[in-house]
């Protein structure tokens, strides 16, 4: 396997007339990584992804996929990537097998290769029982599986999935998530866009946040949930009355009772790092507080994202001097 990153984007911009849809985006995606690309509607996700997929032209900047420049080797880039759009409709008067057969031919497969590959992707996406079902009469979940099957036909090294789980019911979403996870474990690089953070958090190793055409944050889901810059909040529940706990917190330096909850208090620690958590629990036990629950509060991902956007709006955007390597 090559050492070059599977996707490398440097200072990518794309303008439509006076509107700048993508502004100086830079990042690198290593092989085998599953990266979520998050942003509100109109943030520039689809534009950036379309450029990656050679469907659109960058106004400036450099985009490499599997070591190939999208401008210099567009056809080679197309060979190594699979693109799944946010929505699509199959053709009328065509069943699932014929649909996949057509795309297998279109990507250059013939004969036994074609037969083998079509059967393989149908098996993988569990479409074999639906082989003779009209392709335009499938449920939304089945349609997305068909779309994924089509994407896998040319055995791409990197999959670009635009809002893959949008509009799916919980069961279909779970099935689809399983397929994506499986692909990740099989070494495929995945670049998945969504505006539903929780969904991406379960599918991706790391996430890239885009707003108004700029990357505003990158990191893992946990780095958002436990923002290191914020104070640590802990839920502490006790056996018996809450009042002694509140008094105890009031007497401690660096602690604050943020709010009272049923059977306990939410305590804010004005210190960072996990040592503070360990020390707090030790002190509580030492001072005889009957702790029955001690839990670090997670920020909801959506709230964290909104927090990032708010911070971004308050301070002038700082472009990444070097492309972030997503780990």
């Amino acid at each position: 396997m090559s050492d070059t990153p599977i996707i490398e984007v440097e200072n990518l911009t794309r303008s439509f007339g006076a509107v700048q849809a993508v502004r100086g985006v830079s990042f690198r995606l290593e092989r085998g990584q599953a990266v979520g690309f998050i942003g509100a509607n109109g943030a520039g996700k689809t534009t950036a992804m379309r450029i990656l997929a050679t469907l659109d032209l960058p106004s400036s900047g450099r985009v490499m996929v599997d070591g190939y420049d999208v401008l210099e080797h567009p056809s080679r880039v197309r060979r190594v990537l699979g693109w799944m759009p946010d929505h699509f409709r199959a053709y009328p008067n065509m069943d699932v097998l014929d649909y996949l057969d057509f795309f297998a031919r279109a990507v250059g497969l013939r004969g036994s290769q074609l037969r083998g590959r079509v059967a393989e992707v149908m098996d993988f996406t569990d479409l074999t029982p639906l082989a003779r079902r009209p392709s335009d009469a499938l449920s939304k979940g089945q349609t997305q599986r068909l779309s994924l099957a089509r994407t896998l036909l040319n055995d791409p090294a990197v999959l670009i999935l635009d809002e893959p789980a949008a509009g799916l019911d919980p069961k279909a979403r779970l099935e689809f998530k399983n397929l994506v996870r499986l692909l990740a474990t099989q070494g495929k690089s995945l670049f998945i866009s969504s505006h539903i953070l929780s969904e991406l958090a379960e599918m991706c190793d790391t996430m890239l946040f885009i707003d108004q055409g700029q990357i505003v944050h990158h990191g893992t889901a946990d780095s958002l949930r436990y923002d290191e810059r914020a104070v640590i909040s802990v839920i502490v529940r006790v056996a018996g009355p809450v009042e002694p706990l509140k008094q105890w917190v009031a007497a401690q330096a660096g602690l604050r009772a943020r709010e009272e909850i049923r059977g306990g208090v939410v305590i804010e620690i004005q210190s960072q790092g996990e040592e503070a958590l360990r020390d707090l629990l030790r002190q509580l036990v030492r001072d005889g507080i009957a702790v029955i629950e001690f839990q670090r509060m997670q920020q909801r991902l959506e709230e964290a994202f909104i927090g990032i956007l708010r911070q971004q709006q308050q301070s002038a955007p700082v472009p990444h001097p070097t492309p972030p390597v997503l780990t």
């Binding site: 469907l55 080797h73 056809s75 053709y91 250059g108 993988f124 896998l152």
Partner: protein, 528 residues
């Protein structure tokens, strides 16, 4: 599971479309109706005592049905056949395959031809039966059927190309223009060569004994193929991913069209002196049709942005510097080379056209006219792009930008026409109309068509030159300003050529860069 696949070597789009069509209700119904109708009339013919009358009815119904099928139903379906590809991301998915837009268009066209051929073959037994019932010349009928299939396939090509436009109004208008251009020439030509008057389907019957038969078939074949090629390229250009270049291939059609134009021009002037089977009055419209196609290609070229893909320029980097200059001045996709292409075409047309006409001693060379057209033709074609470059920051696509500016020019011209019409006196009317010539596209439309009186004529020419000359200068300047960008992309193209050369000599590298699509990647079946 066992899947039965056949026809691996066929165009994927052809296979897909045929599979779809054979399962569609419309095709099945039409096919069955034709068969039932034909079977009914054959039975009627066999059982009837008045053979010739029934045979005539059968004949009329057969041809009527075929005309409706080949010239109305199939073109109507073709006219909207690319529309669904543009919706629901289908086109994006096709762009990401290894199929080129050209093969996509050709596949679609072949699929329609195959449907037509299927219907024709299924009707052959009835034709043979009607031959036995008398009054029918089978050879002529089969020839007519073949000519009809050929004409229908060209019409379908036209409709397919037009179906790549999003707007229904534009589709309708373009169909009319194309039909006028191609079929006007086609029917006219076939009439000329067959020595027949009139037109319509009779023109497609070609008795082999006719003296002009082979020449007619050859010339019609060449024009038809060129027209079909243009249609396929036109449609492919609309479907293609941004990395594909269809502009240059359209420009390559220009020499052929020029050849025809000069041929018509020369023949028009000799007025049937050299070749007896030419008919006066047919050549002029055909020349207009060819000129329409030439102007269409030039406008397409002007309304295209240069390709940023180095791959497009690799061919020009392989030879000497002449190839690069040929590209920059004529063949590179995009408006900078189209500016020079227009100048080259203007010189070629005015130069050769006048030379051809000068062979005729009765022709008087008019220098003011020659001088005027030298400015008006290139300026009229360049003006929308010269202005359009200034409007680049709008969201309009290059072609829409071009059409938008042409539209504004035409509105100005209509305004001048209206203003001129409400004023009395021919000379005053022409004076107001001459104002419209300040805009080069209007000058291009008005100067050759209005019968100007002398002082107003000079005023109109003055107005046309006053704005035409700066337009050409600015156009050429802008095109030259683009050359550094060309130099950069040429450098990258040359690097790609070097890389490819290296890949040929280093097998390991070759294996890496040109690895075929691999299969059986070992996808583990998930536990659903």
């Amino acid at each position: 599971m066992r899947i039965s696949f056949k026809s691996d070597w066929l165009n994927p789009m052809l296979v897909r479309d045929l599979r779809q069509v054979l399962r569609s209700r419309v095709f099945t119904m039409v096919f069955l109706l034709l068969q039932c109708g034909m079977a009914f009339f054959v039975v009627l013919g066999v059982s009837s005592s008045e053979e010739s009358e029934v045979s005539s009815i059968l004949h009329t119904i057969l041809w009527g049905g075929l005309i409706i099928f080949y010239f109305m139903l199939m073109p109507a379906i073709a006219l909207s056949s690319l529309v669904p590809e543009f919706s629901d991301n289908r086109l994006d998915l096709l762009k990401l395959t290894q199929m080129s837009a050209r093969s996509l268009m050709v596949g679609k066209w072949l699929s329609f031809c195959a449907q037509g051929a299927m219907v024709a073959v299924s009707l052959l037994p009835y034709m043979v039966l009607s031959y036995y019932s008398g009054g029918v010349e089978l050879g002529s009928e089969l020839g007519s059927m073949a000519a009809m299939l050929a004409a229908s396939s060209l019409l379908i090509g036209v409709c397919l190309a037009v179906s790549s436009m999003n707007s229904r109004i534009v589709r309708g208008l373009l169909t009319l223009v194309f039909i006028f251009s191609f079929f006007g020439s086609f029917i006219g030509l076939s009439n000329v060569f067959m020595g027949r008057g009139g037109g319509g389907i009779g023109a497609f019957s070609m008795p082999i004994g006719n003296s002009g038969y082979f020449l007619a078939v050859a010339i019609l074949g060449i024009i038809g193929s060129a027209a079909l090629w243009l249609c396929m390229e036109f449609g492919a250009a609309r479907l293609a991913p941004v990395s594909e270049n269809h502009d240059t291939t359209q420009r390559l059609l220009l020499p052929l069209l020029c050849m025809f134009a000069f041929g018509f021009l020369a023949e028009l002037d000799t007025r049937g002196g050299r070749t007896s089977f030419m008919i006066d009055g047919i050549l002029a419209p055909m020349l207009v049709c060819v000129l329409i196609l030439i102007v269409w290609i030039l406008i397409q070229a002007m309304a295209t942005e240069p390709s940023p893909y180095p791959d497009t320029y690799r061919f020009y980097m392989r030879g000497g510097a002449w190839r690069r200059w040929l590209g920059r001045l004529v063949l590179y996709p995009g408006w900078p080379s189209a500016v020079f292409l227009i100048l080259v075409m203007t010189i070629l047309f005015l130069g050769f056209g006048n030379l051809l006409l000068l062979q005729n001693r009765t022709y008087n060379f008019n220098f003011p006219n020659f001088f005027m057209y030298c400015f008006v033709i290139p300026a009229g074609l360049m003006f929308p792009q010269v202005i359009g470059v200034e409007l680049r920051r709008t969201r309009l696509s290059p072609s829409n930008r071009y059409l938008f500016i042409v539209g504004i020019c035409i509105i100005v011209m209509i305004g001048c026409l209206l203003f001129a019409n409400v004023r009395g006196g021919a000379s005053i009317q022409q004076f107001y109309l001459a104002f419209a010539c300040l805009l080069p596209p209007n000058a291009l439309l008005l100067l050759p068509t209005v019968d100007w009186d002398l002082p107003e004529r000079y005023f109109a020419i003055g107005a046309a030159v006053a704005t035409g000359l700066p337009t050409i200068i600015i156009g050429v300047k802008r095109a030259i300003q683009y050359w550094p960008t060309f130099t950069e992309v040429e450098r990258r193209a040359a690097a790609l050529n070097e890389e490819a050369k290296f890949a040929k000599t280093a097998p390991l590298f070759e294996a890496k860069v040109a690895a075929p699509v691999t299969t059986n990647s070992g996808l583990d079946k998930p536990t659903h």
